[in-house]
């Protein structure tokens, strides 16, 4: 199977070229990159004139609810949704039922993922057994089976000694530890940002310090052990500052931010009349926190944008705010939401930096064998995402491939969309018509 993509503006994972480039993929591998590649022998040809041809986007953090919570999402629906959102790779979180804390479940996810027609599925494994935060999970066996990240996401690793042991133990496995930064003693019963939103709503405030203090703790452990640590869904100014300071001291710390924390803030919780669709952990923060995240993107503090797509059944989400579940579903509009916000903010960073946070940025955080997913090079996997920066489309959650039926962006018209997703050399999603082929 050969597919020829013609006239795309090539983003190779680092640099966005303004010259038209062709790419030929052959049996799931990028075989040629160049100009004027002959379409002889290509089964399909696509003209990508005016479109950006990028390495496939990687979502480092999403909840596919499989196994055990399939009424919310499963690997098939999640994988299709991911492809429709422009992601060729999804790293699914292990806080399922049962939690993914053993090699058998890693293998289950990889095998079932192979059958999915959308995004490539890479599983993460729990850091602790039963995700209970007490003792180490069998990280070695999971690493061999194919786990790409270790995390107790959904919960922090509150036991500092356990987190230290996990860093030391995982250091030789080539799999990074991802911490969900939260000091639970500060967030018990909390619902919204501790600030304007908690003040007006009377809901218990979730202070930024709950996140920043856990990051400071993790940074100390990383410096102590020399082992890298990754902080996910960093949402507050203080947290970004903590990561920035740690990076300046050569600490091997990395972080990701979510589309919702980049695009939405706590004023929308109030403005919506406390609509549960805006309820999420960590909570939507102040406008100045949102600005700080964009500054973190601009100056290189942020390493990746990850969705934290957290789908729920309508009945778990469509409730009075205080009773609604925590989580925002965004997989199918996350990239568009970020591109739209970037434009709305008058392009606070070069486009190539933004694109790198979906590609080479997250790829660098994965085990060695997957790092080529974040670049376009001859011989690397044919995982590609095509972006149309000018395309406008209105979000219609009722048509989503995800099982989620609520999203804060529903009804919003966004500018800048992924229009094609290629996974292992197959078209997993496309709004672009094929120009020729079929041989």
């Amino acid at each position: 199977m050969k597919i020829l993509f013609r006239n795309g503006l090539l983003f190779d994972g680092t640099t966005l070229s303004c010259e038209k480039t062709d790419i030929l993929t052959e049996d799931g591998i990028i075989s040629r990159i160049g100009k004027g590649i002959d379409d002889e022998g290509a089964n399909e040809v696509y003209n990508l004139s005016g479109l950006i041809l990028s390495p496939g986007f990687i979502d480092l953090h999403c909840h596919l609810r499989d196994p055990g919570q399939e009424w919310r999402e499963d690997l098939l629906s999640g994988s299709r949704a991911g492809a429709a959102g422009g992601f060729s790779t999804l790293v699914c979180m292990p806080n399922t039922d049962p939690p993914v804390d053993n090699a058998a479940l890693i293998r289950y996810l990889l095998e079932k993922g192979e059958e999915c027609e959308g995004s490539r599925i890479l599983p993460s494994g729990c850091l602790s057994r039963e995700r209970a935060g007490k003792t180490l999970a069998e990280m070695g066996k999971m690493a061999i089976a194919g786990a790409v990240i270790f995390t107790d996401d959904g919960s922090p690793v509150s036991d500092t000694n356990l987190l230290r042991l996990a860093l030391l133990y995982s250091s030789r496995l080539g799999v990074r530890v991802m911490e969900h930064p939260e000091d639970r003693s500060l967030t018990s019963g909390a619902q919204v940002n501790d600030g304007i939103c908690s003040t007006f709503s009377g809901l218990k405030g979730w202070p930024s310090s709950a996140e920043a203090s856990d990051i400071f703790r993790g940074v100390s452990l990383s410096m102590d052990t020399g082992v890298p640590i990754h902080f996910t869904h960093v949402s507050a100014k203080e947290s970004i500052n903590a990561v920035r300071i740690a990076k300046a001291s050569d600490c091997k710390v990395t972080c990701d931010v979510t589309p919702h924390h980049l695009c939405l803030d706590e004023s929308m919780v109030i403005g919506s009349g406390y609509d549960g669709v805006f309820k999420v952990t960590p909570p939507l923060r102040s406008a100045s926190d949102t600005d700080a995240l964009w500054e973190g993107i601009r100056d290189g503090t942020v390493d990746a944008i990850a969705t934290d797509h957290a789908p729920y059944h309508l009945d778990e989400k469509d409730l009075p705010f205080q009773e609604s579940s925590f989580g925002i579903a965004s997989l199918e509009c996350a990239v568009a939401a970020v591109l739209d916000e970037w434009k709305r903010r008058k392009e606070p960073c070069p486009l190539e930096r933004l694109l790198s946070l979906f590609t080479s940025g997250p790829a660098r955080l994965l085990p060695e064998k997957w790092r080529t997913l974040g670049l376009i090079a001859a011989g690397s996997p044919a995982d590609l995402t095509v972006i149309d920066p000018a395309f406008e489309q209105t979000v219609d959650v009722s048509k989503w491939k995800s099982k989620a039926r609520l999203t804060p962006w529903n009804g919003r018209t966004l500018r800048g969309w992924p229009v094609m997703t290629v996974v292992r050399g197959k078209i997993a999603y496309s709004l672009i018509d094929r120009v020729s082929g079929g041989k």
Partner: protein
């Protein structure tokens, strides 16, 4: 006047003329309460459902009296627990009530956002928020405004000192917003652990010293202190609270000589308020109860009485 609000959820988007209009309507209703026969036919044929998910005596009875004095048909819908627990969801309850033809629903619910949620689900019925979690209690704020206004006239330039657990109080949130909109200045006092983070955003200031907070105040508004907040470690003991922040005759001396003492009830004697001031001549606590009926009659009349388009 043209009335632009569809429901009474909170007072965040109300403006001073809106508040003033309700106060004036309440004065007419107040006069009715002095008549030997209090009932008027203003809402005859209108169905009002009182939907109380949380224990409440005074607010429920006050609404019910107001509804009955205006001759509405009243249904007390018994509801308990959260809408996620056993039984039907609030969404289904909402649709059921509308199918039965409710013209208005009064809701008291433990979850913040419950009244807003109900309003989003109902296409026709008017929603009156009787208190949602720690968020809002607009009818309480209106009755407090009315009580003060009736007694001392325009509230512009008046100083309100509010002492107690602001953090967990829907009454405090609504009253701060309401008094500020009327042009009063609101000073909060109490332990810093019982204050919201951004009191300035609500339009108030914070003074940890109750004596200076009360100095020259026209209105002293006391908030209920719940024992469970001590259990949660928000302050060391009720006894210490009373010693530091409890309102008594000695503290009252710092206020203006004719200052009003208010409390939403039920009061904890010997905790946030000493009996000498609770029962003293400046106490408005029972006046507030009477105002509650008048203000709720005014609201029901404005929303259901045909004045509105």
């Amino acid at each position: 006047m043209e009335w632009k609000h569809r429901h009474v959820l909170d007072l965040d988007t109300w403006e001073r003329p809106d508040l003033q209009h309700i106060l004036e309507q309440a004065r007419s209703m107040d006069e009715l309460l002095d008549r030997p026969i209090k009932k008027v036919p203003a809402l005859r044929g209108k169905l009002v459902v009182n939907l109380f998910f949380e224990a409440s005596t005074r607010t429920r009875v006050s609404f019910e009296l107001a509804e009955k004095f205006l001759s509405a048909d009243v249904v007390n819908w018994s509801a308990s627990g959260s809408s996620t627990g056993k039984g039907e969801t609030l969404r289904d309850t909402a649709w059921t009530l509308e199918a039965m033809g409710a013209d208005a629903v009064v809701i008291r619910h433990g979850a913040v956002g419950a009244a807003d949620y109900l309003a989003r689900k109902l296409k026709k019925s008017v929603v009156f928020n009787g208190g949602d979690g720690a968020h809002s209690h607009p009818t309480q704020a209106l009755l407090d405004l009315y009580t003060a206004w009736k007694k001392i006239g325009p509230l512009e330039g008046k100083k309100v000192a509010m002492i107690g657990d602001v953090l967990h109080s829907r009454v405090a949130r609504s009253d701060i917003i309401a008094f500020s909109k009327m042009g009063s200045s609101v000073v909060l006092s109490g332990p810093a652990t019982l204050m919201p983070r951004s009191v300035e955003a609500l339009g108030a200031t914070y003074d940890e010293n109750p004596r200076s907070a009360v100095r020259d105040a026209d209105i002293i508004y006391l908030l209920r202190i719940q024992k469970e907040r001590q259990d949660e470690g928000m302050f060391p003991s009720l006894d210490e609270y009373h010693q530091l922040f409890g309102f008594d005759a000695a503290l009252l001396k710092h206020a203006r000589p004719d200052a009003l003492v208010m409390h939403p009830g039920p009061i904890n004697r010997g905790v946030e308020i000493a009996s000498d001031v609770a029962d003293g001549s400046q106490s408005m606590i029972l006046g507030q109860v009477r105002s509650g009926v008048a203000i709720r009659m005014a609201l029901l009349f404005v929303y259901l009485g045909g004045v509105r388009q």
